[in-house]
């Protein structure tokens, strides 16, 4: 197979345990988002739209749905015939045993063989659970311009939130001088997005050293970057200004979903004509709004039927809202059913979950937690 300039290693093994029941049966990258997508669509589409056609997807936690969703990558234009495309890379056994991926760096270390097969000049490390639209080619150009060993994508965050992120301090040439994971007193508001471009030779050397380091947790943020910085390597930033979210928790999942709505949404799904967000969606008929349907400020997926009222909500593929039912500020995941007369406020309804007739769920009171119903769960009257 031909040599590639840059390949991507997409970390998709995360459990996403803080997403609670939404990740009970599926890995976080496979969680449904935005009416028709799964979270991993965003990183995969970015790869395809950036001309990066070889993507190793490192999976681990509950991989079945994720693997079947990925297929051979055709949905993202990534089913190449020359050896590129999507390769699913779960943990595997060797003559000397096998092990789960112990950390983000370890996952890549265990697949150095995959990287060497493609012999790229650069390796792009991505996370499969972030929502954003980015041209990695521009980041690669910046990496080459700086003659960098490692380029870290960064974005400015509000100062008051800086202590939640890995914070990067850079000099006037965009060279990284300091990296602090979740600093108490940040001296910069540039946060690492967990998106890295490495020059391959250095990456492979560093990972091999890290693998035998007893003190290391084998994590890119905690171990690899500090080590390279201490060794005086050329680490540079690439600043990104745009929508970017890591939907780590139920409340951030809900907030980010709501960011898609309104007349000037923070994340505009319709502003991506030249870089479409691709997905492996089925072919359901167009959404049907019934004779008494009343619906506005909603995203509506194919195969959905709306007979009741819905406002400021996301109604995903094949979701159903019955007569006299009311859905407000909520997210209905694919196949969720809200039966006649039920009333749902600020809730996330899992895939194929059923809210029986006249059930009332959730509250407009924003001090209360967002209600979450797991996939396939049925909520009957009196079980609220």
């Amino acid at each position: 197979m031909g040599k590639k300039e840059c390949i991507a290693m997409l970390l998709a093994g995360g459990q996403g345990s803080r997403l609670g029941v939404l990740t009970k049966n599926v890995a976080k990258p496979a969680v449904s988002f935005g009416g028709k997508y799964r979270i991993i669509d965003f990183a995969l589409s970015n790869c395809a739209n950036s001309g990066i056609n070889t993507v190793g997807v490192l999976t681990q936690y509950r991989p079945y749905l994720l693997h079947s969703y990925l297929g051979t990558g055709g949905a993202w234009n990534l089913d190449e015939t020359d050896g590129g495309g999507v390769a699913i890379l779960p943990p595997y056994a060797t003559q000397t045993g096998g092990a789960w991926y112990a950390g983000t760096a370890d996952a890549v270390t265990q697949n150095i063989g995959f990287i060497e097969t493609h012999d790229p000049d650069y390796v792009l490390i991505l996370s499969g659970d972030q929502l954003y639209s980015m041209d990695y080619q521009k980041m690669l150009e910046s990496h080459k311009r700086h003659n960098a060993d490692l380029t870290v994508a960064v974005m400015p965050v509000p100062w008051e939130e800086a202590s939640r992120f890995g914070i990067i301090t850079q000099d006037e040439d965009e060279r990284i001088v300091k990296f602090t994971e979740k600093p108490d007193k940040p001296d910069s508001n540039l946060a690492s997005m967990g998106i890295y471009i490495f020059s391959t030779k250095l990456l492979v050397e560093t990972l091999k050293e890290d693998a035998i380091d007893q003190q290391s947790e084998h994590d890119f943020g905690n171990d690899i970057i500090p080590k390279l910085l201490a060794d005086g390597k050329r680490l540079y930033t690439y600043e990104y200004n745009g929508f970017w979210r890591d939907v780590g928790t139920i409340s951030s999942y809900h907030e980010t979903s709501m960011d898609l709505l309104g007349s000037n949404p923070d994340f505009d799904l319709y502003a991506t004509d030249d870089a479409p967000i691709m997905s492996n969606a089925g072919t359901k008929p167009p959404a049907y709004i019934g004779p008494n349907g009343e619906i506005d400020d909603c995203l509506v997926g194919n195969g959905s039927s709306i007979y009741g009222r819905a406002t400021h909500s996301i109604i995903s593929t094949s979701a159903y809202i019955g007569e006299r039912a009311v859905v407000e500020d909520s997210v209905l995941l694919p196949g969720a059913v809200v039966k006649d007369g039920a009333h749902i406020v600020r809730a996330i309804l899992g895939e194929r979950s059923v809210i029986e007739e006249d059930v009332v769920l959730g509250s407009v009171d924003e001090t209360k937690d967002t209600v979450v119903i797991g996939n396939d769960v049925v909520v009957g009257k009196g079980e609220e």
């Binding site: 319709y270 709004i289 009343e294």
Partner: protein, 364 residues
């Protein structure tokens, strides 16, 4: 050995052309916002387990090839078998109304000869229905007929639907045009592959005829039986039935028959965002496809992908196809607005139920 071989004649040219079929064959006429008419024939074939489908192309095949491609969206990009694009005869271009022109079958005998299945299922691409063809094939084998045609009792007069005359359950005559109560042909039949090849030899001298016209004198010796399809089926032969069939799908009962759970009508995949019904929009009894953005009023209508309806615009009892823009204050009623049209602000585009307004496709 494969169960059945599939053969789709997608080169039918309607005898009743309108702006909708001016630029494309019936097979690639858009249907219900996101589909093309051919999706139904193709999906019915693959859903019953067919893995090899030959498709006879019309002369204006660009839109059809663009749509079906390698057959991947129907699971037909196979190493062995899959989708075969077959040439149609020049006569397929004349608007004779024939759906199974002998010449088209003769020209593609090689495809039929190379098949390795006992039975072949043939269909035009001019009807909309969803059926498990195993039922048809099982009935065919059980009755011992030479040919089993898929039929439905006509409920309306329709000049372009083929009718069969029956005696004791056997087809004894065929004619164009159905009256209510007639046995209407759904342009689909099953027969043995070797017998079809034999028939093609018999009728070699009359290859300008439709297969069923050619057989008209032979119903005594060829045992043709019918299989009555109980579900929803609609012919797409002219603009009025086209409009009605689209509107039928606003009825959830009909919709459930055409799109049953587990037997999906597949179509070319597009990367559209979900539809967005914006703040203040008013949408009722309508179907809205992906990437539509609705600010105005849409009632009793079908919208294709990526249609923009601006604030104050009204779309009622209409089909508005892909990538149209309906500007503020525009009013569309009893109309079919084909792809890429921009309806300017405060303009009325109005037909009546009896005389639909058809706006032809605009340049991209």
């Amino acid at each position: 050995m494969e169960k059945y071989l599939g053969f789709i004649t997608a080169n039918y040219s309607t005898k009743y052309p309108s702006a909708i079929t001016e630029s494309r064959p019936v097979a690639s006429a858009p249907f219900l916002g996101r589909y093309r008419v051919v999706d139904f024939a193709l999906s019915n074939m693959v859903n019953c387990g067919i893995r090899t489908v030959g498709m006879v192309m019309p002369y204006n095949y660009r839109s059809l090839i663009d749509h079906v491609g390698s057959g991947r969206d129907w699971g037909l990009n196979l190493k062995k078998g899959g989708l075969f694009i077959l040439p149609g005869s020049a006569f397929g271009t004349s608007r004779t109304g024939s759906r199974f022109l002998l010449r088209d079958l003769e020209h593609n005998k090689v495809f039929l000869e190379r098949g390795n299945s006992e039975l072949v299922i043939l269909s035009s691409a001019s009807f909309v229905y969803n059926m498990d063809y195993n039922d048809l094939a099982d009935a065919h084998l059980a009755s011992g007929a030479d040919i089993t045609v898929l039929t439905k009792t006509a409920t309306r007069k329709d000049a372009d639907v083929t009718a069969f005359k029956l005696e004791d359950g056997r087809v004894k005559g065929v004619h164009h045009g159905v009256e209510p109560g007639d046995t209407a042909f759904l342009d689909c039949f099953v027969m043995s592959r070797t017998f079809l090849l034999q028939l093609l030899d018999w009728y070699e001298q009359t290859d300008y005829l439709d297969l069923f016209e050619a057989m008209a004198a032979d119903f005594e010796r060829v045992n043709v039986r019918t299989f009555d399809f109980a579900g929803y089926a609609a012919p797409i032969f002219n603009k009025d039935v086209y409009f009605k069939a689209n509107m039928d799908l606003l009825d959830p009962k009909i919709s459930a028959e055409l799109f049953p759970e587990g037997r999906e009508i597949k179509t070319k995949a597009h990367d559209n965002a979900p539809a967005k019904l914006e703040l203040g929009s008013h949408v009722r009894n309508s179907r809205i496809s992906g990437s539509c953005r609705i600010y105005g009023t849409v009632t009793n209508s079908i919208l294709g992908r990526n249609v923009l309806v601006e604030p104050g615009a009204v779309v009622n009892n209409a089909i508005v196809m892909q990538s149209c823009i309906v500007r503020s204050g525009a009013h569309i009623e009893y109309a079919v607005v084909d792809r890429n049209n921009e309806v300017p602000a405060d303009i009325e585009v109005k037909g009546t139920p009896e005389a639909l307004f058809i706006k032809e496709k605009a340049a991209e």
